[in-house]
Symmetry: C2
Amino acid sequence: MKLGRLNHIGIAVPSLAEAAARHAQLHGAEAVGAPIEMAEQGVRLCFVDLPNGQIELLEPLGALSPIHGFLARNPAGGQHHLCYEVPAIEAAHDWFVEQGARILGPIRTGAHGTPIFFIHPKDMGGVLTEIMEAPRHG
Amino acid sequence: MKLGRLNHIGIAVPSLAEAAARHAQLHGAEAVGAPIEMAEQGVRLCFVDLPNGQIELLEPLGALSPIHGFLARNPAGGQHHLCYEVPAIEAAHDWFVEQGARILGPIRTGAHGTPIFFIHPKDMGGVLTEIMEAPRHG
């Protein structure tokens, strides 16, 4: 198993509108995508395009959002997770399970429309890690 | 002012040896660089090459290392900072000062041998941010 490119860095924010405005100033207005609601995952998000990857800005959506706990500990927001691409999600899932890594929830569809899963930060050196099947281009 | 590519993601770790071994397993042994000591910044570090950027693993070096406080709050380690490239460090520094951002310490030489400075996370949506003059290639 070898992870592929870094797809995005997830950043939790108390206000998506404020964070999007700040990132537009830093990276150009054209770099900031439209907000996306993922109700079942409890997040409202937008992507910011960098020359070599993306930032995913995450705002809590709904009372049960997993972002609430993070923002309670980090009220200003902060780095929440890293997401790496793999060619095949099932093979990656099996490999991490074999290593004894704790998988958080089922394989599900992520914000880019491909299957993803999350690995517990305690099994990834403190970093909440998302594994994402790479989008097929062309 | 527009930030350039994401140069690296800084991750604080309690043990550089353990973190380097885990990243060698995830990204390939050839991706993990040799440890570098930066005594004046209180860190021992190594870079991990990703297809589209780098991870910087940071272990505290010396009693006054700024990483001790982070690891006291996050004993397993975790995401510590993001570093963006700019073409000219003085112009970037002046721009952030004009915006009222709090700059942490002087412009100094970073691990890639080019000038860098850090911006307080409170002025960057909770994300400790390093600004780095891009290395000149060719």
